[in-house]
């Protein structure tokens, strides 16, 4: 007996309740014909992420938006890979490469197979991760600016000690050397205080100069 249930295009997506839920979900969803790779439907969140209206997206191939693979190299239908919350890139209409967590499920409706692609925008998480890495690098750099100089200062003070009784250096020369070490310790202390102040203020951004340094611009 022939299957009389409707295809996606014929009916499912026209169900009012389903449509309402489909469009309100805060995850981008794209329905793709597995054979032709044509986009047959998208929800509001996907529309918003891509930056084009549904009319401009439906009918286009998925290679234009959600996937950077070439035609015939589909990671799902050609290479049989699985995507479950996998980090991928979605290309928006403006050309922005948006990092997303993507899941792809296969669904057969009547005789046709669809790829149900869902993706969550993770730009904020990526920015937070990058900021944390940069902050850790900044903290590490600040600690290094104190740690080895402290060892050097300690060594310098140790080397001044025998000079005091040797008669080789006069009182002013000894005083200058000690004063250099004192001034260095004060500078290191100021570096630590600045670090503590930034931590106390919940500093989220690293200084511009250091950012330029680590990104090489």
């Amino acid at each position: 007996m022939a299957d009389k249930s409707p295809t996606w295009e014929e009916g499912i997506s026209r169900n009012d309740i389903f449509r309402e839920i489909f469009d309100r979900i805060q995850t981008g969803i794209m329905i793709i014909d597995a054979e032709t790779h044509a986009i047959v439907d998208i929800n509001d969140d996907a529309e918003h992420l891509i930056g084009l209206s549904k009319d401009q997206i439906i009918g286009k191939t998925c290679h234009d938006f959600v996937c950077l693979a070439h035609c015939g190299e589909c990671p799902i239908t050609d290479q049989h890979n699985l995507f479950h919350s996998t980090e991928r890139v979605l290309v928006s209409a403006s050309g922005e490469r948006i990092p997303v967590l993507k899941t792809v499920a296969l669904a057969t409706v009547k005789t046709r197979t669809y790829l149900i692609e869902s993706f969550v925008d993770i730009r904020d998480q990526k920015k937070a991760e990058e900021r944390m890495v940069a902050l850790l690098a900044y903290l590490n750099e600040s600690v290094l600016r104190v740690q080895k100089p402290l060892e050097l200062t300690c060594q310098n003070l140790l080397s001044i000690e025998p000079e005091i009784g040797s008669g080789d250096y006069n009182a002013e020369e000894i005083r200058m050397q000690i004063q250099v070490q004192v001034a260095n310790l004060n500078t290191m202390s100021a570096t630590l205080k600045d670090l503590a102040r930034q931590a106390a203020e919940g500093q989220k951004e690293i200084p511009d100069g250091f950012r330029e340094f680590i990104v090489g611009k």
Partner: protein, 196 residues
């Protein structure tokens, strides 16, 4: 950049990064000064570590006379000390005064009459007490470019594992050779007669 062999100031302009433990950095300074003099190269010592007057005395104890080298002294004023009038010494107000350091290095290099000269920067680690790594990196690039344009060799002293890995990798990229204190010491021990 390679990390084999020691210092060679007899050939073309070279840039070196010399690494040591904190306790050996002063000995390394003296070894390098002796080495450069033994190879007919007049050293300009950029001191972020010890006042020029103290350097002069420690060099004199090693048989190095005052007219054999030049000093850019960034710590005498910083320590509240008094500058002494000496054409071989140029003072900078404080180690963080990079503009002053740059000018002093440039001017003193021009005044050194010797054909072969080198700068000995003592030390990158101490400079980092006074300025952030990012600023130090820019300044050291400036110094390296200045040296290359002037055909002057550069020897940068640094405490091992004492600087940010990023600045270390940048410095490793622009020097010709990284030399460990132990390797320098072996060379010094073998050739110490001819170094003096």
């Amino acid at each position: 950049m390679t990390n084999n062999g020691g210092l060679d100031l007899t050939t073309d302009t070279r840039l070196y990064l010399l690494l040591s433990n904190p306790q050996d950095i002063n000995s390394m300074n003296i070894m390098v000064v002796k080495k450069s003099l033994s190879e007919g190269c007049t050293p300009l010592i950029v001191s972020i570590n010890r006042p020029g007057q103290v350097l002069t005395k420690s060099y004199a104890k090693e048989g190095i006379s005052r007219d054999q080298y030049y000093v850019v002294d960034a710590v005498t004023h910083y320590s509240g000390g008094t500058a002494i009038s000496d054409p071989h010494i140029r003072y900078v107000n404080q180690p963080s005064d990079l503009t002053g350091l740059g000018i002093a290095i440039t001017e003193l290099l021009k005044e050194i009459p010797a054909q072969k000269k080198c700068i000995i920067f003592d030390s990158v680690s101490m400079l980092l007490i006074h300025i952030p790594t990012a600023t130090a990196s820019k300044f050291l690039h400036f110094v390296v470019n200045k040296l290359k344009l002037s055909d002057v060799s550069g020897i940068f002293l640094c405490v091992e594992n004492g600087i940010d890995p990023l600045i270390f990798s940048q410095m490793s990229a622009f020097v010709d050779r990284i030399v460990q204190y132990d390797d320098l010491k072996k060379e010094f021990t073998v050739l110490s007669g001819s170094w003096k």
